[in-house]
């Protein structure tokens, strides 16, 4: 179980020099073997929460616990080794590094062709066409996003942090994603998403607005709430 205890995160505004709260007193629990989808408007702090969980940023105050252990002071590398695995909203590109190399760095060993094939076909890519490609500007946005997910699968872990995994992925492939999430169902999965189809896979939904969580609860309860306040969630816009 991953637990946030009164986590706040603020930055100093470069222009005015004033403190700006991005997240304030966020307390949340993410149970084992559950999928939580975080949704909410642009700029409400969803990616920031993911980064805090992975250790890319340190909270200004509060604690992050993993199975009772305080992981707040642990570095990214240490958290990765504890089983935290992230797929970024905007994956980075690397000049000269191949898909094969990244998958082997992710899995921590030299994966055989079969394993690489599994990771890539899970995200709808044919291994033969991609393993020797460089993860640079020659990949399309959607391909890069799929490879980012394949890396998370290759790495494995206990806590999966997936930031808008559907962004840039064509609608026809949403079922591939849903299949991946179902495969991860025995882990703690935290997904940021705006898509109704992804929200449907959630056991629990967390709704962000500005710097605080408006509400969190079981999927059905939250669907009912979202229906009352359509402006809060992009999914309503998509549905009309």
């Amino acid at each position: 179980m991953v637990e946030l205890k009164k986590v706040s995160y603020s930055v100093k505004d470069e222009a005015t020099g004033r403190k700006q709260d991005i997240l304030k007193d966020v307390s949340l629990r993410f149970e084992d073997a559950s999928i939580t989808v975080i949704t909410g408007p642009n700029g409400s702090g969803k990616s920031t929460l993911i980064k805090l969980l992975m250790g890319l940023e340190k909270p200004t105050s509060g604690q992050i616990l993993f199975n009772g252990e305080d992981v707040t002071p642990l570095s990214v590398t240490e958290r990765a080794k504890r089983g935290f695995t992230i797929a970024f909203q905007q994956p980075v590109r690397f000049k000269g590094i191949t898909v094969k190399k990244l998958l082997s760095l992710a899995s921590g060993s030299q994966p055989d062709i079969g394993q690489m094939c599994n990771c890539l076909s899970a995200v709808g890519l044919c291994a033969r066409d991609y393993i020797d490609r460089q993860v640079d500007g020659t990949l399309s946005g959607g391909e890069l996003k799929r490879i980012e997910l394949a890396m998370a699968i290759a790495k494995g872990g206990e806590v999966f942090l997936l930031d808008e995994p559907e962004a840039g992925i064509d609608l026809w492939s949403f079922e591939d994603l849903v299949r991946i999430f179902n495969r991860l169902h025995d882990k703690t999965v935290i997904i940021v998403s705006h898509q109704h189809r992804i929200l449907e896979t959630a056991d629990k939904i967390v709704l962000f607005e500005n710097d605080r969580i408006v509400s969190a609860g079981k999927r059905e309860e939250m669907f009912a709430k979202l229906a009352e306040r359509p402006a809060l969630c992009a999914m309503r816009v998509k549905e009309v």
């Binding site: 890319l56 570095s75 590398t77 980075v92 690397f94 000049k95 590094i97 190399k101 760095l105």
Partner: protein
């Protein structure tokens, strides 16, 4: 050949044994071994130190190894090698140089290479420079490469220097004829107090000529690199120069690309980007479980691969 020689040969020329076909191995200014065959003939020059390498027209899928070893200090070796590539030939030339210097005096190799590439011929020229040794003596390479490309010729220059070279000043001149192509892939890694200067002067003379020069460099420690290129378009042509550098620690990389469209039909592009390793790249790799140092090495290794 002793173990040092074998190690150097493996590093600079991927040679683990005496190669097949034509080769010329030079050690400390003297000929160590040679084989010359009817397709690729190697003859010693009579007026100065060096060899002529003559590739017969139409020779296909052949390679020639001409590695140079330097294993003593207080030695300066200048060699003049001329390559005559016949029309329609397709060859690979592997020309590394390895210095092993355990002394306090400098060891220097200056290869002056000139290529006359015939019509429709294709050359892949692989040049690896490497140095090691425990002494404080300098290890220096000052190569000069001149390339003349006739109609529809294609020349691929792959030059790599991955460590140990105290000082290098590399000059490359090329004249590219009608519909001929020059491709350059340069990779340089410097560390400590090393200095590396590379200079390209490429004249796109023929109609439809092309040049693509890509330099990737990594400078760490207190090292310094300077990349200079001068691309001149004298006809309807296309030229592209790219200099990509990563600096670490106290190192410094300078890039001075110049392009000169003499003809209004010339299309010339240069790109240069020098900077630290992007923070997001390190973070991504660390999120896979690598330490910061491992992440840095992985980025550099990929960048120079």
């Amino acid at each position: 050949m002793d173990n040092t020689d074998k190690e150097l040969l493996a590093t600079i020329a991927d040679l683990h044994d005496i190669p097949e076909g034509s080769f010329n191995i030079r050690k400390n200014g003297k000929l160590l071994a040679r084989n010359s065959d009817k397709d690729i003939e190697i003859v010693s020059k009579t007026d100065k130190d060096g060899i002529d390498i003559i590739v017969r027209p139409g020779v296909k899928n052949k390679s020639v190894h001409i590695p140079v070893l330097l294993t003593v200090g207080n030695f300066q070796d200048t060699v003049y090698n001329d390559f005559y590539i016949g029309d329609g030939a397709d060859v690979t030339i592997i020309a590394g140089c390895g210095i092993h210097n355990d002394t306090c005096d400098s060891a220097e190799h200056d290869g002056i290479h000139t290529f006359y590439v015939g019509k429709n011929a294709k050359v892949r020229y692989v040049e690896r420079h490497y140095a090691n040794g425990s002494g404080t003596g300098k290890k220096v390479f000052d190569p000069t490469t001149k390339i003349y490309l006739k109609e529809k010729a294609c020349f691929i220059l792959e030059s790599t220097q991955l460590g140990g070279v105290t000082y290098t000043d590399r000059k490359t001149y090329a004249t590219v004829g009608k519909e001929a192509t020059l491709l350059v892939k340069e990779k340089i890694l410097t560390d400590h107090e090393e200095r590396a200067v590379t200079d390209f002067k490429v004249t796109l003379r023929g109609k439809g000529s092309r040049a693509d020069i890509v330099s990737r460099s990594v400078a760490r420690g207190n090292s310094l690199q300077h990349f200079r290129s001068d691309l001149i378009g004298k006809n309807e042509c296309f030229g592209h120069v790219e200099c990509d550098g990563i600096v670490l620690e106290q190192a410094r990389i300078m890039s001075t690309p110049k392009i000169d469209a003499v003809s209004t039909e010339a299309s010339l592009v240069h790109e240069a980007a020098v900077g630290k390793i992007a923070g997001e790249q390190l973070v991504k790799l660390m999120s896979l479980g690598l330490t910061e140092q491992e992440a840095e090495n992985a980025v550099i290794q990929g960048f120079l691969s």
